[in-house]
């Protein structure tokens, strides 16, 4: 008997907003590339490329994620993400580690969509049969059966590794999206700006995050035959 399959969206479906995490990853990539091209030297070039994976907030993952995968462990799981393949793979691996689950490869991404007659990206699943889709329905053909969860919009604020921050200051690296306007030559002012800026970031998302953390979509959802696309 063929195993049933579930195809998930990624951002705002299984995890919250990716923007801040991607900025942090982008910063690390810039550093590593600059070191490769000898534009940067010294201790900053010894940072671990996976430093961003450390200490990720458990709230970044949609509540009841682990429980859901356990409950439907007889299914095969697929991802159809709306972001690039490189980013998608990073996040998929994070989920796999967090929820002790594994997704079938290949991971479908924005590169696997097509532009439909209304000039929008559309996700088309042609390689599977008997599958359930849990995703934002806007990106699918209207004829498909989609379980469309409320968007999980938890805004994860990564706390930058302490030593990395110190090295950024030491190396006078100033143009960083993730930390705008905190750089100054003065040590105490730099750290004052950093802590204040980060506190303000947490404050700005605090109430919305609290609401999102109450999300119980994955706890309540029940998948039946009527959700299956043949």
């Amino acid at each position: 008997m063929k195993k049933k399959k579930i195809v998930f969206g990624l951002e705002n479906v299984l995890v919250g907003n990716l923007e801040n995490l991607m900025s942090y990853i982008g910063l690390i990539e810039i550093i590593i590339n600059s070191c490769k091209h000898k534009k940067l030297k010294g201790n900053l070039c010894h940072i671990n490329k996976d430093i961003w994976k450390k200490n990720i907030s458990p709230n970044f993952f949609r509540p009841y994620l682990k429980e859901f995968f356990k409950k439907y462990s007889s299914y095969d799981f697929y991802i159809f993400s709306s972001t690039t393949s490189k980013k998608s793979l990073m996040i998929v691996e994070l989920i796999e580690e967090f929820a002790n689950v594994s997704f079938k490869r290949p991971i479908l991404t924005i590169e696997d969509t097509f532009i439909n007659s209304s000039n929008n990206y559309e996700k088309k699943i042609s390689h599977l049969s008997s599958y359930v889709i849990i995703d934002n329905k806007e990106m699918y053909n209207k004829d498909l059966k989609i379980i469309s969860p409320p968007p999980y919009k938890y805004n994860y604020i990564p706390v930058i590794d302490s030593h990395l921050l110190y090295l950024l200051k030491e190396n006078e690296i100033k143009s960083i999206d993730i930390l705008p306007e905190i750089f100054t030559d003065n040590y105490d002012e730099f750290y004052f700006n950093y802590h204040l800026f980060t506190a303000e970031l947490f404050k700005s998302v605090f109430e919305k995050n609290k609401e999102n953390m109450k999300d119980d979509f994955l706890n309540k959802i029940s998948i039946s035959n009527k959700n299956i696309n043949v």
């Binding site: 709230n59 706390v159 003065n186 040590y187 802590h195 204040l196 609290k210």
Partner: protein, 277 residues
């Protein structure tokens, strides 16, 4: 040629106010105990990312000057032995310099007439000092009469007429440690550590940190409180980092060393006068 010996106080003389650094060190030690050091935390974690202003400005230049002129440096602090040792080790590692041993600490105090008052006194340590610098016994009187300079920010700790004492202003820079991110996560996820922090009133965390239920809560409280610590000390810190005591001292003593003249009472008086003015 007689050797010169400089005896330096530590807190607020060659380093700033170490209140928060000390609390960070104590916190690390306690966490290691509470967790059986699992996951392992390096005992020297507090040394990472420390403000470069923690050590008084131009102290490196002063050390280089002393090295060049064969000046023997000793430390005499009222800190506990353990505390003085780890701070001095930090300075030694930073500047690749080694002070003479032993380090004189609270445990070596000479207790004054009133038993509640700690006093610093070097008479009883002459033999130890001479042994440490490998001087000849015949040099003792000459060295201790004419070739000693004591630098301290607090004259109350020395007998009132000590002619060898150069009083400096207190270096009041207060570094706020930027805590290690992995350590913060460990604190957030371990109730025993959290309880310890609250009960010990550790100055690096507010008491309300205990009510932090989520990641957002904890880090919001931590960053808010830490920014407040920085803000409270910012103005003072920005002023004191312009301190130039050691920079000014070098040219005042250089000619005397060049001419191999002793550190007479008159000369040390004139030094004190220069810094008062």
């Amino acid at each position: 040629m007689s050797r010169n010996i400089f005896i330096l106080d530590m807190d607020e003389c060659i380093i700033g106010n170490s209140k928060f650094i000390l609390d960070y060190h104590i916190l690390i030690t306690q966490i290691k105990k509470l967790t059986d050091n699992n996951p392992p935390i390096h005992k020297d974690l507090w040394k990472k990312n420390i403000s470069p202003h923690f050590i008084r400005p131009y102290f490196k230049e002063f050390l280089d000057f002393c090295k060049k002129n064969n000046i023997e440096l000793f430390i005499f602090s009222f800190g506990t032995k353990d505390y003085v040792e780890y701070i001095i080790e930090y300075i030694e590692e930073t500047f690749d310099y080694k002070f003479n041993r032993p380090l004189f600490t609270r445990e070596d105090k000479y207790i004054g007439i009133n038993d509640d008052n700690y006093m610093k006194e070097i008479t009883g340590f002459q033999d130890i000092i001479i042994k440490s610098i490998k001087a000849k016994p015949l040099e003792i009187e000459n060295i201790f009469s004419y070739h000693i300079l004591i630098i301290d920010d607090n004259y109350n700790f020395w007998s009132s007429n000590n002619p060898q004492l150069l009083i400096t202003t207190s270096y009041q820079y207060t570094p706020i440690p930027h805590l290690d991110i992995n350590l913060l996560h460990q604190i957030k996820n371990n109730q025993d550590i959290m309880d310890y922090i609250i009960n010990s009133s550790n100055s690096l965390f507010p008491t309300y940190i205990k009510s932090s239920n989520s990641y957002d809560d904890f880090f919001l409280n931590y960053h808010l409180y830490t920014s407040e610590l920085f803000r409270k000390n910012l103005q003072n810190n920005n002023e004191v980092i312009n301190d130039d005591f050691f920079k000014s001292l070098i040219p005042l003593i250089k000619p005397r060393l060049k001419l191999q003249k002793p550190f007479t009472t008159k000369f040390i008086k004139s030094l004190n006068k220069s810094f008062k003015d």
